[in-house]
Amino acid sequence: MILLIGGILLSLLSGPVDTDLSDLWDFFINADKPLSAIILNIRLPRLILAFLVGACLSLSGAMLQGYFRNPMAGPFVVGVSSGASFGAVLALFSGFTLRIWGLSAQNIFAFASGFLLVSVVYLLSQKKGGVFRVETLLLTGIAAGALASSLTSFMIFFKADAFEQAIFWLLGSFALSDWAQIWAVLPYLLVSFIGAQWLAKDMNLLSLGDETAHSLGCPVRRIRKVFLILATLLASSAVSVSGIIGFVGLIIPHWVRLLIGPDHRYLFPFSALLGGIFCIYSDMLARTLLSPTEIPIGIITAAVGAPFFIYLLHKKS
């Protein structure tokens, strides 16, 4: 909890422009000062969006790790990231400037294509009358993801002068956070969170194996579908507003497991919370390390996440 409040304060205060506590106080009393405008219009939305995206990704990761019974699973393993990248780069290169409900074309395209790709992957991995195998989903996801990636790379190659803009999306950034995006992500997070909590016990059962879970009264197929949908919604919405931010969905659930164990009834909420906090801090680093240049946040999360992941692997074996 302290971490969260500390994170909020620090994040509000740090950035390329010098501000201090008195400015923050000014902001609360009298929102007219120019620095208050920065806190209100730029830092606050960033802070909130970073929290939401972190929560979405971690929750999605926790769900998918349970779904695949595989610790390596993360929100991007079913192809969401590749699909969403394709949509975002497509929007970027076709130069659409339409805005619906304050969301840019890029956001909308990314969300739609991310979700679409996973739906296609899911449908493709259904066997007629046969047993639905989770491994098939994984492999199909990888294959479809690879295809989407190659198409995305081709677009970037073809229009090389927009390459730099594409990079910022592909590595993730909260630089352009605004309130519209917050409203775009929030409903998905809330719905998924409530859904996840409600079905957390079933996820616990699933970890015992499909047959065992079934024999214990868990409607395996339905639960699997719901979780997949929720996890994909979370990942798509997160990625659509901030680009690809890796490792958060992968690492945070493991971290939480180390702290409080694998019971999904606690894993889900704490993953979301910790994920949000992690993103707040990462975003803070991203905009202060090389101020006024911003480092895409995906770099920070990978730089922190990867060594930590290796450490975790060592610890387990």
Binding site: I42, A175, E294
Partner: protein, 305 residues
């Protein structure tokens, strides 16, 4: 009653005198209208060429923010940096309280939209891909900063020099084949959409990559040998890079038979002059024309480096 009438009278007089003074509406290249009321005092430039144009219009003291790539003229180094071309810092921009932000299509659309959503006055320019579009850009910047006279003078000057050279090279019947190279790493060149293509063609040369519609592309080695250009221009930032690139070309056995390499017709063009659509582009143009048609300049006394 009298007081009320008087105040209305005074009000209406001041309102009409307001409309008589300089307020005009200029449309930018993203379709938005900007109302100009006199010269802005806190301008932020989101591209190096825009900075150069602003300086050339005498607006040095009116600029409060530039990108980290804005390195010309000297004075630009002292102005606060707000980030790069694709990653300008929104915080910095807002904190500087600009009354005009000039951006271009190379800045990310989303960033430009966000700047607009913060209620900052933004003017977006389309850079175009020819020398003639630069004249237009200069005049437009002049309109938006209420420096129309200076802008017309600057653009007019450039145009004069430009037309002079064009007429001169037109008298030449040859159109030598030219290839331009952007860096020593591979064969990066530009097709029909690039500035350099326009410079070469208008200077009376033939860009061998002309049929390709792309702005920048990786040229095929075999094509280069087959096309056999007479002149090669190396576009880079320093003489050192130029020598390195020249060496690479001369040492490579497959390039030995290219006319330009054999005759030593491999020239240096300063990248900053040739790729920024601003006041210095005319210098690059002059240089390119000199290289392609030296006979036209034979009468000039000055020896350019």
């Amino acid at each position: 009653m009298m007081k009320k009438f008087l105040s209305i009278l005074v009000l209406s007089i001041s309102m009409t005198s307001g409309t008589l003074s300089q307020t005009l509406s200029v449309r930018d290249d993203s379709g938005h209208n900007l109302t100009v009321r006199g010269t802005p005092n806190r301008i932020i430039s989101l591209a190096p060429n825009i900075t150069e144009i602003l300086f050339a219009l005498g607006l040095e003291d009116h600029i409060v923010g530039v990108t980290r790539y804005c390195d010309f003229p000297e004075g630009a180094g002292r102005i606060e940096k707000i980030g790069g071309l694709v990653d300008p810092s929104l915080e910095k921009i807002q904190a500087l309280r600009p009354d005009l932000v000039i951006g271009f299509r190379g800045n990310p659309i989303r960033t430009l939209e966000r700047i607009r959503s913060l209620d900052l006055p933004l003017f977006v320019l389309e850079m175009g891909n020819s020398l003639e579009s630069v004249f237009r850009i200069i005049r437009t910047v002049g309109e938006v900063t209420a420096r129309r006279e200076e802008a017309c003078r600057l653009a007019g000057d450039m145009e004069q020099k430009y037309q002079k050279i064009r007429t001169a090279v037109r008298s030449s019947t040859e159109k030598p084949k030219v290839f331009f190279l952007l860096s020593a790493m591979g064969l990066w060149t530009g097709g029909r959409g690039s500035f350099l293509h326009d410079l070469i063609e208008k200077a009376g040369g033939l860009n061998i990559a002309a049929e390709i519609r792309r702005k920048w592309l990786h040229y095929n080695r075999e094509h280069l040998i087959h096309e056999n250009p007479e002149i090669i221009l190396i576009i880079c930032r320093s003489k050192k890079e130029y020598s390195r690139a020249k060496e690479w070309l001369e040492k490579d056995p497959s390039f030995q038979n290219i006319l330009a390499v054999r005759k030593g017709n491999v020239w240096f063009i300063d990248e900053d002059l040739a790729t920024r659509p601003g006041p210095r582009l005319i210098l690059a143009f002059t240089r390119v024309a000199e290289i392609i048609h030296p006979e036209v300049f034979a009468g000039d006394d000055e020896k350019k480096p």
